[in-house]
Symmetry: C2
Subunit: 1010 residues, 2 copies
Amino acid sequence: MSKYIWFFGVGKTEGGKELSNILGNKGAQLCEMAKTGIPVPPGFIISTEACREYMKHGQSFLKKIERDIENSLKRLAESLKKIRGSDFPLLVSVRSGAPVSMPGMMDTILNVGMNKQAFEFLKNIDERFAYDTLRRFIQMFSTIALRLEKEIFEKEFEKWKKSYELFREGKFSSVEQAYYNLQNLDGKAKIQDREIPAEVLKLVVEKYQEIIREKGVTIPENILDQVIIASEAVFRSWNGERAVTYRKIHGLPDDIGTAVNIVAMVFGNMGDNSGTGVLFTRNPNTGERTIWGNFLPNAQGEDVVAGIRTPHAINESSKSQANSHLPTLQELMPKSYREIEKISRDLEYHYKEMQDIEFTIENGKVWILQTRNGKRTARANIKIIHDFIKEKIISESEGIMRVNPKSMFELLFPVIDEDKLKKHPIAKGLAASPGAVSGKIVLFSKEAEKLSKQEQDVILVRHETSPEDIAGIASAKGILTARGGETSHAAVVARAMGKPAVVGAEEIIVDYETRCIKVGENIIREGEIITIDGNTGRVFLGEVPIKTSDLSQEAINILKMADKIRTLKIRANADTPKDAKTARDFGAEGIGLLRTEHMFFDEERIPVMRKMIIYAQKYKESYEELLKIFEEITQNGFPEGAKILSVLKHMRIIPSFQRGKTYSNVFSEIENLSINEVNIAFKKFRETREIYFGSLSKIKEWIKGDFKEIFSVMEGYPVTVRLIDPPLHEFLPKNEEEIISTAEKTNTPVEEVRSYVEKLKEQNPMLGHRGIRVGISYPEIYCMQIEAIAEAAVELIKKGKKIIPEVMFPNVIDPEEIKYFRNVFDIIVKDIEKSESIKLPISIGTMIEFPRACILADQIAKYVDFFSFGTNDLTQTVLGISRDDSGKFMPDYLKLILPYNPFTNLDVAGVGEFIKIAVERGKKQKPNLKIGVCGEHGGDPDSISFFNSMKFNYVSASPYRVLSARISAAQSVIKQGKIKSLTKKEKTAKKTKKHKRAKDQKQASNKKIR
Amino acid sequence: MSKYIWFFGVGKTEGGKELSNILGNKGAQLCEMAKTGIPVPPGFIISTEACREYMKHGQSFLKKIERDIENSLKRLAESLKKIRGSDFPLLVSVRSGAPVSMPGMMDTILNVGMNKQAFEFLKNIDERFAYDTLRRFIQMFSTIALRLEKEIFEKEFEKWKKSYELFREGKFSSVEQAYYNLQNLDGKAKIQDREIPAEVLKLVVEKYQEIIREKGVTIPENILDQVIIASEAVFRSWNGERAVTYRKIHGLPDDIGTAVNIVAMVFGNMGDNSGTGVLFTRNPNTGERTIWGNFLPNAQGEDVVAGIRTPHAINESSKSQANSHLPTLQELMPKSYREIEKISRDLEYHYKEMQDIEFTIENGKVWILQTRNGKRTARANIKIIHDFIKEKIISESEGIMRVNPKSMFELLFPVIDEDKLKKHPIAKGLAASPGAVSGKIVLFSKEAEKLSKQEQDVILVRHETSPEDIAGIASAKGILTARGGETSHAAVVARAMGKPAVVGAEEIIVDYETRCIKVGENIIREGEIITIDGNTGRVFLGEVPIKTSDLSQEAINILKMADKIRTLKIRANADTPKDAKTARDFGAEGIGLLRTEHMFFDEERIPVMRKMIIYAQKYKESYEELLKIFEEITQNGFPEGAKILSVLKHMRIIPSFQRGKTYSNVFSEIENLSINEVNIAFKKFRETREIYFGSLSKIKEWIKGDFKEIFSVMEGYPVTVRLIDPPLHEFLPKNEEEIISTAEKTNTPVEEVRSYVEKLKEQNPMLGHRGIRVGISYPEIYCMQIEAIAEAAVELIKKGKKIIPEVMFPNVIDPEEIKYFRNVFDIIVKDIEKSESIKLPISIGTMIEFPRACILADQIAKYVDFFSFGTNDLTQTVLGISRDDSGKFMPDYLKLILPYNPFTNLDVAGVGEFIKIAVERGKKQKPNLKIGVCGEHGGDPDSISFFNSMKFNYVSASPYRVLSARISAAQSVIKQGKIKSLTKKEKTAKKTKKHKRAKDQKQASNKKIR
């Protein structure tokens, strides 16, 4: 039989932080702290294994371990006697604690063990304390373990508070009188819980007991029964909707289960020398090295987390607008504060991580109830990592491993552009999570989910949020609450998700019924747009100008450390000078994908483009007609035709559109022939050629200008230009109106334009006449692009700039395709080099994006300098799934079949295998073949790790993902244990962690593969 | 330096049949015959290497070998003196001769060496003979070597013939008078060439010489100059349009070149004891063992081939309607006939093939000018192979290797259904190539090409055809000529191409000018439909009933021999009982692909199908809604919901639509809940479920009936049923009218139908929501099909029939997909087996048609009994080419990039590699995994050879390709040298041929790969 129960602080502590899979994170850290000498109350843990057994067998399993729990409680009680004396009753907290932290997602019941006997004992210590503890117990046990409705108790308590307030204000002669005259709750009581005297709490308790009787349930007297019921509630909460949603959002598995922590109660509600609080060992918003948190005097834990009462700051620097008037812990209990500060530093050093700590002070004595790695903003994380490295708590590579690449983007969180700001804020709250954002007001989470699915930007505005709102917060662009502090639910969750949030904007009244918010006299309805500024706490009506903030120095330093380690070059996918500039600013070392098609959609250019496409076809038809005539007349006794014929055929092989062979001799020779059939066909050929080449020339000049701009921005770095990729019909008119306007602008009959539009339509455009297939059919278009690229480069090189263009051919599936264009390319480049007396550092490559190209990679490699994997198309063809259409079944597949969306994370098992084959075969043929990726996956951290393991030269991502790619690339080197020069210290650290890391990686990869 | 000149019949013969690559086929056989003692005139060959040099260097190369040719002519002249005496002038024929036979496609010039001196000598022998020879020489040399227009000479000759005819009829006093009074040629002369006397030929020659003078050209006197000019003409003709077209049609390479045969002339025009003819050693239409051919007395070779004069039959059995009145060679020159007959048998035995022989009789002496393997109809070929085996000339496997699998279909050539025939023929000609066919009359080859591109069936009707018509014949469904015999151009080419042809239908007058044909008083215009019967020579106006003929006994015997040898099973793709019946008749050993989608398009069924599709979605929506509600209420304090929730979730895993779990307990439990939200959602769920399942039930009964019919036809053989493959939108209405009618028939608002039609539309349906993806989204549909298959089988098995159903899942890309359905499948089958107390011999398999399935084949194999490659989709995804859209660029690709269309021939280099990977991985996981193919390539002979080498268990082809597949499968075993039990004789034969075969195979595969 497995060991289901683990002790800490009772005899020798049995667990430690390495056992969080079995003990849950909370439990494992309790054990760890107990071992390290941190003051934690003693207790024991029912393991996650037990939870899994419970999920399988239900109550029969609990029956099985009942005796063990009973014995454990006895043992705990024995141990506790040494601390509290022999008469003090055993009271415990029963808390959930999963292997991964899911703050607030599962249930906790405090003061378990309360019964008549215990109550009497506590009453002897302090009557108010006893009633307060009993009230809390009944309320939590009834709602969580016995599943009565929360609101009944909350309302009841509120009613008594209000009654006492009215009584105290002298409006009634007794509290009872006030209570029974109270029609409805007109606003919440302003009074604080701890001001309620014992007499009133007694009335509350009596009322609570009445409710329980009415509902026909009973709370057992026996602590064993209470613990078992409470534990079952914890187990059950693992599959609660909130917990399930949380796991879905965070990509956590559903089958690991939670542990239950049964810990001796310490009492923050024992009087004014007591209290309870939470803190971070560093500021979670900025990362600054001061402990930062809140506390409530004379209260128990749940009061802080729930955000019901405005908590006190623990010190000056934790103060906010809401609690600036309240005394700090440092002021109220300086000795306890110092002790807490010391424990914080110890824990941080021990764990080598910023900690999020729960503490309780019982009569001046500090107890730590929980520690875990603290959530923080991306910006704070970078600062903390940076400072930890500086303080030599961790090494550089440990630091880099701690950066979440996906959150790098958040460092560039948007800020209000103050120069352009002309509005005044309508309200101000706490800056709970950085970033400025505009969106429509929604008041309900369901509504937020619905609208965000319709791609609408919404701001979730709530009086306060609770765990039920988790999906709504995930859907919203930003969060605004009227109540709550910086550790309130809304603040914590928003920070964890990297969403801008303003909390505790007290001027705002949220009216759920009429679905609006009120600020002074302003009424703002659901659906209206507001802007929140999570950096300063301001709230604006409507939109205001927003810009991207700069990178912090700490971030720049860490990125530099990463750059030293990584071997992968990071490039960006960029189509415009603006994108290129952004990419450079973020440290991109070149452009890995410059899509040229965007250059043609400009309003001025598109009519010429359309004309070109129509004439490409007319030209081709006339060319083939001419060829046929010459074949015929040559055969039928016109020997001079043979030479012309061979030149005409050669035009298919060397299709140069301006450079290279001009064929003018042959053309005049043909012109001078007096064969009627030839004359007619040749006239058509010349005419269509003139218009076709004329359009190409115009386009060439335009795009040459574009290339020059982008090349200039990227001076000194390679720029990979992909030749036209989409099928030509994408450029043609889409509707009748456009057809008519195209007909006018291209001087072509409407009927003819329509017929070309029809002719080019496709059933499956993804697998259609696109990429190099367009080049093979209309080689002049590709020639035009190659010439524009080469000439743009030459013009800049002549001005002394260092330009490194790379020409890339999409959709290649056969060596003959690229052989054909390698020949054409060489001719064009040589011609330019000769006429300009210049050496052009230009290279040629191909995308690998269809399975056949992977298999024939060795033969294709012969003709190119580089491969660039187009993982989007490769995923589509390897899986036979059109990305555009996958929405219809991908949700079903993610539920039942696939572990993740292959268009987001590279499908290593399928697509990855093809990449491997292509790299192996390509490099075998040409060992110095350069290899990169320019598909969507080039910016995905998991995928980057794979590309690194395949020894890619570079990845190319969208400009905004360059930062994260730089980190990911370094992380993958570190993970593979292949850093070139480790410091001695790092080497030692590595050795000891090697085993664990290997295990973690294995687990991670198991998760991926399922 | 290479050896460009090779002698035969002069000294020791230098070549042999094995050198046809260098000497051309004609030359190699001349050498072979010379060595074997067959009477061939002596000569020498200028090799194909010389041709290739000429193509590269032109005349400068000819200059280089001029001296060699001169010396060779001298040597030939010396040698000839021994035969003809010392004064006889050296006259030679200069003939083309490529390594592969291209009959009539290239040029030949006879009587080269004619000059004054030679003429004088011949005149001394016979004046008419001399003039006739001179006339022929001038005409051929001028038109072919000097490229003057043919028609000038032909018209001139015709005019003189007519003039002589008129003179002989007494209409003029002299031939000259007639000639100069002749205004225009009113119909051709009826007179035969050989009746023209010397005096008239003299006038013709004088006129010819006048023409040449007028055109400003000269014929050199020197034989060396003549031979060089003539040889150059031959070389040049290699790249003539006719030759190029022929090679394109027959898939021959363009760069091998032709040899030139320079052979001493023998004279069929030396008088009435002379003549020339062609013959086949067996009947090329029926395969019967009698020599079969035509000859012309006192004529030279070209007269026979051109089909200008009606030739005499060589014997009784060669006689046709056209020449039944003319004496046969056997009658005219019995001794020569007997000699020819003996030579025929000798040659046939020597070559082990039916031969096509050209002979000339000069003054009673027989000379063989050429032998080559004779073209024949597919039916004749089968008979000849069969008889050769019987006569022990070749072994069984040699015989099978000689069958062209692609021509097996021609054995089933269509015949007129005489029982239903009600028309009388309008004309009768020679049955030149078997098969009956209807089509529109076209008179010009270009027109035939054009219309056939528009998918129109045309019959090319010509007065006579010439090599210029080759492309037209290839485009037409059948050929009809008014003139020519069974060895005329039209007859030979039509037979070679397997096209029905009627030739020499002399009643028909073709009027090219008014574009009609006249038969007696009937005028039939171009575009009107006729039917020709190549089996009997009949021509009908309009269409007549046509049926397929039965297989001959010889064919059946040969197929049986092939069946003994092959290891691949041959199945058919068949969707209907009729197709299944056809497949069985042709020997299919099961159905490899039964596409079920066709079952739903029936007029009665499609509305139900559409209703089912709409309700599949509605049901799914309502199911998910219900699930969500139970998740919510369970979480919010309704513990009983948990059990219901888990059952509801289970319905996703075991979706059984009728069998298995009915869930009725849970449903009534839900019904009895008094929660409003649940009630509403459940009502919707039950309603949609009822309609959805109701439609499924109806469909199930229909298709169960279909399955029973097909299974019955295929009793004892496996039937692989593929579950629904196309995306569901293919079944939905396509236009507004259909939408409205569907709305009516399904009782659904029009708007809703339209919205579902819109919702299901796809960008790239090929890569969309199809195949097993439909099953994963709507598992009930697949369940319904599985149940229908299993129940149909059970009902038949209970009647004592042997039924072997196989269920196949399309579009699988992940093991989880098939794991899911393996589970569902097992539950359904077990349930049926249990309730029916029967053991069901049913198996489960998957199509492998996307690259990811190939890579994960090992994991997929775990859950299936068989793989069936869908090479169509696999080709589409491996190459990233949509077959439907490939027409736009495939022509360019076939010119420049790909050696063949990958949708016709399996792309071994790309797709083949994936198949290899899948087979290896699949078999590694499950060694007894059954492997087959059901894509288009399953019927392609080259591809079958590949599948055989991959050790497939079966291929599945369309029913009409089963015959060819049986042959191909045997051939691939023979090619791999893996016949289980060879006869002793065959083993010896194999040994000696092994080397050559390996070489041939290498060449063939080189050609494929390029």
